[in-house]
């Protein structure tokens, strides 16, 4: 008889869940955007755009000061870390409803191409972080004329 124990972090359904998410995304783009219900979803939600000369990562993080965001890039991996504080830092308040999450977060994005790490631009406007990363010269497609 085979006896085995699942390791603490092993999730037997992780693979299935990934497939389900991918299917939802393929058939209904808005299903992914539906995280605005209470709870659920990976925080912070982000979009990744692959342009001709640029890769743009857009990240929704309302209420987070830019001082509390830590962006780092290693090779083709972008890591967005930060802290979101509770809406009231005062313990004397009495909460009636609490839907907005708080705490530390971290998300890793593996970029589709090599980028020029020297010229990354990041801006924050109305609670949306936009990271613009120009592709490195070596990966940009070039037209080659046949002589």
């Amino acid at each position: 008889m085979a006896l085995f124990r699942w390791s603490e972090n092993w999730d037997p359904f992780a693979g299935l869940r990934t497939i389900q998410k991918e299917l939802e995304r393929a058939f209904n783009r808005h299903a992914v955007g539906g995280y605005r219900g209470v709870g659920g979803g990976v925080y912070p939600p982000l979009n990744v755009y692959n342009g001709e000369n640029e890769i743009v990562v857009e990240c929704e993080m309302p209420g987070i000061e830019k001082e509390n965001i830590d962006l780092s890039i290693t090779g083709e991996t972008l890591v967005i870390k930060g802290t979101k504080h509770l809406s009231a830092d005062d313990e004397s308040v009495r909460y009636q409803r609490r839907e907005c999450g708080y705490g530390d977060f971290s998300r890793t994005v593996v970029l589709p191409d090599r980028i020029d790490a020297e010229n990354i631009g990041a801006s924050m406007d109305c609670g949306i972080l936009v990271v613009r990363m120009p592709k490195s010269e070596t990966t940009r497609s070039r037209q080659v004329k046949v002589s």
């Binding site: 995304r25 783009r29 808005h30 992914v32 955007g33 995280y35 605005r36 219900g37 209470v38 979803g41 990976v42 939600p45 982000l46 979009n47 990744v48 755009y49 692959n50 342009g51 001709e52 640029e54 743009v56 857009e58 929704e60 993080m61 309302p62 209420g63 987070i64 000061e65 509770l86 809406s87 009231a88 005062d90 004397s92 308040v93 009495r94 909460y95 009636q96 409803r97 609490r98 839907e99 907005c100 994005v109 589709p112 924050m124 109305c126 609670g127 949306i128 936009v130 613009r132």
Partner: protein
Amino acid sequence: MTGKDEKVKPSAISAGDESGHTFSSLVDIYEEPDGTTVLVMEMPGASRENVDINVDKGVLAISGDGSREPVLEKCDCIYSGFDTGEYFRAFALSDEVDRDSIEAQMQNGVLVLRLPKASKAATKKIEIK
């Protein structure tokens, strides 16, 4: 205002379902020791000009537009975790709230509404004679 009697207009919900672009924003509601109720609503992408707050017949309705220009022309969206659109949420307002002194502030995509208690509704201690 309590979480229990919070209402969302049925018409707004159906409108959202049809287009798929009206979102119900996340809110935190808390009461400060002086009785002021504070409503914190996340509306990422919405600037103060695009947010509309109305109090009508005891219903506080907040709507906003979070849609914006695409960040990049001619590109593939290779991962989509959120979508943009309009926000709407409505709440039944308690009679205790002083309608004339509601204050609103918008910062970093978060709307903060301060709803002070009307002075006549503030707790009064009654002495026994």
